[in-house]
Symmetry: C2
DNA sequence: CTGGGTGCAAACTCTTTGCATTCGG
DNA sequence: CCGAATGCAAAGAGTTTGCACCCAG
């Protein structure tokens, strides 16, 4: 069936966009509820998951605690402060980046981790066979 | 105080190494307990966290579900199958990598995410002031 | 109308923690 | 000895889910 265009979905998406600092699902829910107390936390989680699945938002997993969401969908990276937990955007290409990042951002970089997402050969076969 | 060299720690570390496919903490615990039923799950979690903190292991956060651990500590990346959840290693440098990865591994890559970890300027000041 | 979306509350998963006990150095 | 590490069980954080109701198309 078609995906519906509900008020809740619009509000959650707009709230995600307004909270530009990579909020957690919980932070989005809190902000949504401060303006629309009747919208339930479960709905916010459901909508954020749908946004992430459909590519309208990014889910960022930090090495500790809850998932963060990012309304920016173009390819970019993130710097995470292991002390205060702050997450900031990075748009430069990789590799020498660590050094540049240290110089320009003032962050002291300990390390980084890269994760690719895709389908392994076996699962591609399965999905092709099934479809 | 000194960190002690307990039997449990050795067993957990060895088990992590033997499970070469990026097991979750839970999988490590299950494997440990199948050989040493008296070792508690909490201890396995505590030891894995210590290993990750001290740099003797890596914690990998996948976009869904539990944390995975990797006994390989040299810098490398990971390919994650969004269908079966399998995690594989990648040791080439980044960027054109996505293309090479598609060609050589047979994975169909949807995207990737890079995360840097470090201390933001504010937290560096705080820790310098405190120390 | 109809079934996708919602609200609520309970359930669930993964992980951490308090406390008494054990044991490595 | 002594306190770091353990085992247990209970709590905690974050997230998902079953079900009845509601409303967008």
């Amino acid at each position: 069936m078609q995906e519906r265009n509900t008020l809740q979905k619009r509000i959650v998406h707009e709230t995600l966009i307004s909270l530009c600092n990579h909020p957690t699902a919980d932070e989005v829910a809190a902000e949504v509820q401060s303006n629309y107390p009747s919208i339930s936390r479960a709905t916010v989680y459901r909508i954020l998951n749908r946004l992430a699945d459909s590519g309208e938002a990014l889910r960022i997993r930090i090495n500790n605690g809850a998932d963060h969401f990012d309304h920016q969908t173009f390819p970019h990276y993130h710097v995470h402060c292991s002390s205060c937990g702050k997450v900031a955007d990075v748009t430069m290409p990789v590799e020498e980046l660590v050094e540049m990042l240290s110089d320009t951002s003032g962050y002291r970089i300990f390390g980084y981790s890269l994760q690719f997402d895709g389908l392994c050969p076996e699962c591609q076969e399965l999905s092709e066979a099934g479809a």
